[in-house]
């Protein structure tokens, strides 16, 4: 790379600066243009019109945490697989090793993925991947309208459909 030339990540930096400028200018213009008349009602959190009950920064369902943990495991797997995938089909390495390279790389990856697949199946069997399914309870409410009324209505409009 010659001096004075923009390196690849220098251009990326330009894009970041461009993005910052774009939203900075937009935010600033909006700030200058828009009205600013806050009051207590406007500034309260939205809870469907009710009085705000406490803060939202409390504990939430632990399943999200477990998903994040399992994710870390597989994300590391991905990070290892990316460089592997690039050199897997490398012709030069294949020629240098007399055609053994691809076999070696594939076998190695099989073992690696198999261990991780074992981990996934463990989490699966243990039920860590199961999300609680909403339990729908049928209502015990009895309608006073007799069922044959509905049948009559359905019968009446059957032909028009």
């Amino acid at each position: 790379m010659q001096s004075g030339e923009l390196s690849a990540f220098g251009t990326i930096l330009l894009f970041i600066i461009g993005g910052i400028l774009f939203f900075g200018v937009a935010m600033l213009t909006a700030r200058l243009l828009r009205p600013h008349r806050p009051n207590a009602e406007k500034l309260s959190s939205y809870e469907c019109g009710e009085e705000v009950a406490g803060s939202a920064w409390g504990p939430f369902n632990v399943r999200y945490y477990i998903v994040a943990l399992v994710f870390i495991l597989f994300d590391v797997e991905l990070a290892f697989l990316f460089p592997w995938a690039v050199v897997f089909g490398d012709h030069k390495l294949d020629v240098a090793s007399g055609g053994l390279w691809s076999w070696y790389a594939l076998a190695e990856m099989f073992i690696f993925v198999a261990i991780l697949a074992l981990g996934l199946s463990y989490a699966w069997v243990k039920g860590h991947l199961d999300w609680v399914r909403p339990q729908t309870r049928p209502s015990d409410w009895q309608s006073k309208v007799p069922a044959q009324l509905y049948d009559r209505v359905n019968e009446k409009y059957k032909s028009s459909r």
Partner: protein
């Protein structure tokens, strides 16, 4: 670096930036028009001809609306959320190869923001940063609905990121390069990856929907349960940034799908077009015009996928959260792992088509399941009659 090359390069950078913003702006218009078409109504038609000025009117509204930060919220993070979402969305389009090269004074300039040698990893990394914008904004609002939307978004994005990464790996095994330009150049003519990686494409497409928080995976902003989801407390320009970021992400993922699986700016007969253009107009103009045609083809592909995103939005209902997690963890990830293993075995055996075996297998299993399911319901129906 020559001055003219530098000028062309800066024009390209500005153009990449401008084009992605313009397309995102007009995607909002297209979305409303397509929704209107699918629901048999006219859609926006007051601002300008065909309502074409509607996005500008919307932007004006964003500027003039009052913006307030809730008293309970964390002020700085509340502002940082949409800014981060917008920033990450703007950064991705930098590495998308929009076209071949342009000849300026004998020097070749690539029609691309920048060709970094780890292009696809860069896209992957920046896209996964995008979830921070949603997560930070939702958490900082200090609203129960926002928090639920934010953790849903985080959980969903990380789940689908895995399957997405695994489907990319199958592509990388065939291309042997992380650079998006190299991946495109290998798909010269009609040699598109979709013919060798059908399973990878389906997985990638599904994950792109989930990463963009688009229907049927838009649970973070599921209005029936969570009001506005993570942007419940947002108004004015900050809300605009969140919505805008979503459309930019949609554009970028359409572009990446086109690059990875549909040959980018390659199209059948491109060599013939280039030869005849150079023959008629000379090397400089001919080459540049051929590049322009390729770029237009690429944008055609992008627009098709943006349309596809919208088409799906108005066709499919939303998933339930447990279905979403099941599909991600128990469906797509094992399928993607199988795809990687099969692709590797196929490459070793000297064929790139082994991925089709997986398609056949899935179709077979689905057919068998559909057949037995029908028998079961028929049997159950008979039982209930008795």
């Amino acid at each position: 670096m020559e001055l003219s090359v530098f000028i062309v390069k800066s024009i390209i950078i500005l153009a990449v930036f401008g084009v992605s913003l313009l397309i995102a702006t007009y995607s909002t218009w297209a979305e409303r028009k397509i929704a209107a078409f699918l629901q048999d109504r006219p859609g926006p038609n007051r601002a300008g001809i065909f309502g074409l000025l509607q996005p500008i009117a919307d932007a004006g509204k964003m500027f003039f609306k009052e913006d307030f930060i809730p008293r309970q919220a964390n002020k700085w993070l509340f502002i940082a959320g949409p800014s981060l979402a917008m920033l990450t969305a703007c950064m991705t389009s930098a590495v998308v190869p929009f076209g071949d090269t342009v000849l300026v004074n004998g020097a070749e300039v690539t029609v691309q923001g920048i060709d970094i040698n780890i292009g696809i990893l860069y896209v992957f990394g920046v896209v996964s940063l995008g979830v921070y914008g949603v997560m930070i904004g939702g958490w900082a609002s200090n609203n129960k609905f926002s928090l639920l939307g934010a953790i849903r978004a985080a959980s969903q994005n990380i789940s689908y990121e895995l399957a997405m990464g695994l489907s990319i790996i199958a592509i990388l095994m065939m291309s042997g390069s992380l650079s998006l330009r190299t991946i495109v150049e290998q798909q010269h003519g009609m040699n598109w990856n979709i013919f060798f990686q059908p399973v990878g494409f389906i997985i990638f497409l599904t994950c792109a929907f989930a990463e963009c928080n688009r229907t049927p995976f838009d649970l973070p902003e599921c209005e029936t349960e969570l009001i506005g989801g993570y942007h419940t407390e947002y108004s004015s320009m900050k809300l605009g940034f969140y919505l805008f970021a979503e459309y930019i992400n949609m554009f970028v993922s359409s572009a990446v799908i086109a690059v990875l699986y549909f040959g980018g700016y390659n199209y059948p007969g491109m060599d013939w077009v280039r030869e005849s253009l150079i023959g008629g107009l000379g090397l400089n103009w001919g080459h540049n015009l051929a590049t322009l045609v390729g770029t237009m083809v690429f944008f055609g592909k992008i627009f098709f996928f943006i349309f596809f995103f919208m088409w799906v939005r108005w066709t499919l209902p939303r998933f339930r959260y447990d279905q979403l997690m099941n599909l991600g963890w128990k469906g797509l990830i094992p399928l993607a792992i199988l795809n990687v293993v099969l692709t590797g075995a196929g490459l070793l055996a000297g064929t790139r088509l082994l991925s089709w075996v997986l398609i056949l297998g899935v179709v077979l299993v689905a057919t068998i399941q559909a057949g037995t399911a029908r028998k079961r319901t028929v049997a159950a129906g008979r039982l209930s009659k008795v």
